[in-house]
Every structure is written in structure tokens, then in C-alpha cells.
């Protein structure tokens, strides 16, 4: 065996697979080919970005969070308030929202460093609940239970207005999604990314080979929060309002399910999961609008009883192996 094998093996993990190209192409093509569905596609893409951000902390770093909506929500409100109170430029608003979400993520990351899974669950749940309460009580700022209405966005890059058909919105969302995906991809294939998996698999050993576990958790949590914040900002900017439900437990539970459906730990699970979830949602809601939650719950129970690996593995349809 030669060193060449080792080099080749290492390179192979990071190389672009054919289906990654296909997926990106499909995303881009969808904007061109499905103009009538831009609004739905926009929702899917936002949900996908949200789920991919969760994958970083759940699939890669192994942190179970029931409150990821905290960052989604803060991004949403930050973007909405910025547009309303400061300036309506979407890109500047996005930058501000991402920065705020990242700051919140960095602060909250301290909370998940110690303790058991239950402690982490509680703490993440607690943060999201606190933000919900805050948004509810500070109704002079956030509109409280009525939500923050009348957010009018300026044109993108000074040129492209957000139109009713949603095509500009979807293009915007797609670009943000793809940029985040590319950054995340760099992250997970790097030594940093592998060290996340190491600390997920065996925290004790990760420390024993000289890795600083705490710093890494802070870093990944911050990045994941920033991306979730971007998703929230996209929602606010493309829909023109923000409301309390961005902080709701339901949202945290939903994004968890989306990621689990698509598969954790290979980065694209969020996208596949979002597509399947949204389509299922629309299908089932059309049939029984009120009791979607029941079928969702049943699906969850069955999914877990049967075994997450066995039920849905879209990635194996493409012949991909976990890196």
C-alpha cells in the first residue's frame, strides 16, 4: 500500500459527488422551470436552510436541541424590525439579522457545554420559550400576538423588487441557501468538521487527542445559529411579516422532524427532508386540514419504532455513502 492510496482516500471524501452537482442544478433549474410554484418553493428552501443549520449541531456535533427556533425567530424579528425601523434594504437587513443570531448563538452555546442530554434539551427549550415570552410581552416593539405587520422590503441590490409571484423572493432565498450550503460543506469536510463528529462520537477521546471540545461547540453553535437566523430573516423578508410562531415549540419540533426525515449527518438531509415534508404537509392538509398534527405524530411514532435508518434513506437512492 502506498502513500498514494492514503492521499486518494482522503481526497475522495471531500470530492464533489455527481448527485451533489445534480442537486444544485435541480435547485437552480427549479427557479427557471417552475415559476408558478415560486412561493411554495421559497417556503421549502427556507425550511431546508433551517434544517441544514440544525444538522450542523445535531447530525455533526451530536447536540439534541429542542429550541433551535430561538435563532430562526430572532433572525426573523431582527430582519423585520430592521426593515421597518432602520432601512428596507434586504441584504443589509440580512447581514444584521445573521449577526444578531450569531451573537445569540455564541451566548447560548455556553449553556450546552455541560450536562446531560436532558439538561441540553431543557436549556434549549428554555431559551426558545424565553424569547417567545419576550416577544409576546414586548408587544409595543414586536406587535405581540398580532405579529409584526407591514414590513415592506426595498428592492434587492437596488434593482429587483419583491413581486407577488415570489420569483425574486425564491431567487434570493436560493442564493442564500446555496451560499450557506457551500460554506457548511467546507466546514464539514475540514479537520474542524471531523473534530465535530469526533466529539459527537466520543467526547472523552476527542479531548484526549488534544481537541478543545468546548471551543468547538461554541463555534459550531454560533455558525448554526447564524444560518438559522438567515433562514428566519428570509422568511420575514419574503413574507413581509413576523409573528410569535417563529419561536414556538412547534417550529423546533418540526425542523427536527424535517432533518430526521432527510437524514442527519451528511449535510443534505435538511434539503431532502424539507421537500418531502412540505409535499406531505400539503398533501395531507388538503385531505384533512385540521388534524395534520395527528398524522404528523403518527408518522413520527412509526418512524422511530421502525428505525430511522430503515424507513427513509433518500441518499442511498443516489448511492451516496456517509463521509
Amino acid at each position: 500500500m502506498s502513500a498514494g492510496n492514503v492521499v486518494a482516500a482522503l481526497r475522495a471524501h471531500a470530492r464533489w459527488r455527481w448527485w451533489e452537482f445534480a442537486l444544485l442544478a435541480a435547485l437552480l433549474v427549479s427557479w427557471v422551470a417552475l415559476p408558478g410554484h415560486a412561493l411554495l418553493l421559497n417556503e421549502i428552501a427556507i425550511l431546508a436552510l433551517f434544517a441544514v443549520s440544525l444538522d450542523l449541531i445535531l447530525g455533526y456535533a451530536g447536540v439534541v436541541s429542542l429550541g433551535h427556533a430561538a435563532f430562526f425567530g430572532i433572525g426573523s424579528y431582527a430582519a423585520a424590525l430592521f426593515a421597518k425601523l432602520v432601512m428596507p434594504d434586504p441584504l443589509v437587513g440580512m447581514a444584521v439579522a445573521v449577526a444578531i443570531a450569531a451573537a445569540l448563538g455564541a451566548m447560548c452555546s455556553v449553556l450546552i457545554l455541560r450536562g446531560t442530554d436532558l439538561t441540553r434539551l431543557m436549556v434549549t427549550l428554555g431559551v426558545a420559550s424565553i424569547l417567545y415570552e419576550l416577544a409576546n410581552k414586548l408587544d409595543w416593539l414586536t406587535g405581540g400576538a398580532d405579529g409584526l405587520q407591514g414590513v415592506v422590503m426595498g428592492p434587492l441590490l437596488g434593482q429587483f423588487e419583491f413581486d407577488l409571484s415570489g420569483r425574486t423572493a425564491y431567487a434570493y432565498t436560493l442564493v442564500v441557501l446555496i451560499v450557506c450550503l457551500l460554506i457548511a460543506r467546507k466546514l464539514v469536510h475540514s479537520p474542524f468538521g471531523y473534530s465535530l463528529q469526533a466529539l459527537r462520537d466520543n467526547r472523552l477521546r476527542a479531548g484526549s487527542i488534544g481537541l478543545s471540545v468546548n471551543l468547538r461547540l461554541v463555534a459550531v453553535y454560533t455558525v448554526a445559529a447564524a444560518m438559522a437566523g438567515a433562514a428566519g430573516a428570509l422568511l420575514a423578508q419574503t413574507s413581509g411579516f413576523s409573528s410569535l410562531d417563529v419561536f414556538e415549540f412547534h417550529r423546533s419540533a418540526e425542523v427536527l422532524l424535517v432533518l430526521v426525515i432527510g437524514g442527519t449527518g451528511y449535510l443534505y438531509g435538511g434539503i431532502f427532508g424539507a421537500i418531502v415534508f412540505k409535499l406531505l404537509h400539503d398533501l395531507i392538509s388538503a385531505w384533512t386540514p385540521q388534524y395534520w398534527n395527528f398524522w404528523l405524530g403518527l408518522f413520527l411514532v412509526v418512524l422511530v419504532l421502525v428505525g430511522r435508518e430503515k424507513l427513509l434513506r433518500p441518499r442511498t437512492w443516489f448511492g451516496a455513502k456517509k463521509p
Binding site: Y194, D201, A206
Partner: protein, 253 residues
């Protein structure tokens, strides 16, 4: 006189009414081949946990190259060269041996936090990994996930991962634990081939390994140092024999 690389001074650990480490003062010299033996429950693994920082001592101090490291965080001790293996394999189950070693090597090279370039892109990583994989006969399984590996290979990876960290002081906690007789020689050979400037502290029950490998021995009983000296003296010490025979413990075979 060879210099002392690692030492403890009156190291004490007490919790919940027991004292697993009781006033232990011990020195490891540069290039040492030092064995730590003692009956079950003597506190050998606790001592390793104290040395690596996994446990905090109740009192006493630990010194590396003349600098006190008693309160230094575990991962920082690794960077200073104190590396250990675990009695029960502690591996990264979802990664492959190649990825595990590449990660350890990258951490050692100081690029363990790099986030832009892929793992292994740095030209120094692959040759080091290749050397380790060959040395530990892991080349044929280098791309299999660790969770699918046989126990013997996992044990080899356990030690390989520690060596990837380029230790100056290597703490081996029962390296052949659970390894069938026929496969032990492989591990013995690797340990014997360790570079001369690496100081090795070996916890072992297998007396063959102790007498073939160690030059000096510390005997730990009930958390305290019971006897100490070169390997021949300890082998012939009647008190040591009594401690072992009195325990009724056969050496782990």
C-alpha cells in the same frame, strides 16, 4: 542521570469516603519503560485519570518537565505530550481509521481547527497516516467505519490514535486487555518498537509483558505506592508476591 519527565508529588484523590489515590509520589524518567502494577482496585486507572487531567486531585501536584500542570485542562496536556490509551476502547465509531488518525495527526500539527481546507489536504498529514496505518496493520481496513471493525483491529487503532499525537509521555492502560493470546504479540512488538525518547508508563496485568518490556516497576496497592524498583528486584520481592497471591488474583491471561 536521566532527567525526570513526569512526576507526581503526594498526589491524593478522595471522594465519597474512598481514597483511590493515596499520597502517591512517583517519577517517570525520560525514555523510561516503567510498569505500574497492582491488584484490581489498586487505583492504577485513577492515577492515569489524574495524570491526564480527567480527574482533579484532592491535593498534591503533577509536574511535567519541571512545570506544574496540576490544573491544566486535559486537552492542553495532550498538546504538551502526555497521551494515554484507554483500557476499554474509546474510539470514534462513525469515522474510519484513516479519518481518526488523520484527525489526531492534524490536531498534533496544529491544524485541527482548520475549517477551510479538507481533512488531509495538508501535505504532511498523509505520510504520517500512512506510516501509522502500516505500522499497526490497519491499511486493509482504513476506510471501514470503526463500528464495523473487529476487536483486535480496534485495539490496534486505540494505540495508533495515541501514537498519532506524537507523545513524549505515553500512558498505556492495559494495552492487551481483551485481546486473544494469538494477537497479543503484534501489540507487544509495537510497544517494544516505540522510540527510545518516548517515556512509557504501562499499566498491565500480563506479567510476560511487564517483564519483557519494563525496566522499572511501581507496585500500587489500595491507592498507595507499595513497592518500587527495577523489574528484577520487584519480580523477586516476596512482599509483592504475597500481595498478589494473597489477593487470589491470577494475572489476567
Amino acid at each position: 542521570m536521566s532527567s525526570v519527565v513526569l512526576e507526581t508529588r503526594s498526589l491524593l484523590k478522595r471522594f465519597g469516603g474512598i481514597t483511590p489515590t493515596n499520597d502517591v509520589t512517583l517519577q517517570v524518567h525520560k525514555g523510561a519503560r516503567h510498569a505500574l502494577i497492582g491488584p484490581n482496585g489498586a487505583g492504577k486507572t485513577t492515577l492515569i485519570n489524574l495524570l491526564t487531567g480527567v480527574l482533579e486531585p484532592t491535593s498534591g501536584s503533577i509536574w511535567l518537565d519541571g512545570e506544574e500542570i496540576t490544573t491544566l485542562a486535559p486537552h492542553l496536556r495532550v498538546r504538551r505530550g502526555i497521551v494515554r490509551t484507554f483500557q476499554i476502547n474509546q474510539l470514534f465509531s462513525e469515522l474510519t481509521p484513516l479519518q481518526s488518525l488523520a484527525l489526531a495527526v492534524s490536531a498534533q500539527l496544529g491544524i485541527g481547527a482548520g475549517w477551510w481546507k479538507p481533512l488531509g489536504a495538508d501535505a504532511r498529514v498523509a505520510p504520517l497516516c500512512e506510516k501509522l496505518l502500516a505500522q499497526f496493520h490497519l491499511d486493509d481496513v482504513m476506510n471501514q467505519q470503526v463500528k464495523h471493525l473487529a476487536y483486535g483491529k480496534r485495539r490496534l487503532l486505540e494505540i495508533a490514535t495515541a501514537l498519532a499525537c506524537e507523545p513524549r509521555v505515553l500512558l498505556l492502560d492495559e494495552p492487551v486487555a481483551g485481546v486473544p493470546e494469538g494477537e497479543r504479540q503484534e501489540i507487544f512488538d509495537i510497544i517494544n518498537a516505540l522510540p527510545a525518547d518516548v517515556s512509557v508508563l504501562l499499566i498491565e496485568h500480563d506479567m510476560d509483558l511487564v517483564f519483557n518490556f519494563a525496566k522499572s516497576v511501581t507496585v500500587l496497592v489500595s491507592g498507595a505506592v507499595f513497592a518500587e524498583g527495577d523489574v528484577q528486584a520487584i519480580a523477586n520481592d516476596p512482599r509483592v508476591k504475597a500481595v498478589y497471591l494473597g489477593e487470589g488474583e491470577a494475572a489476567h491471561g
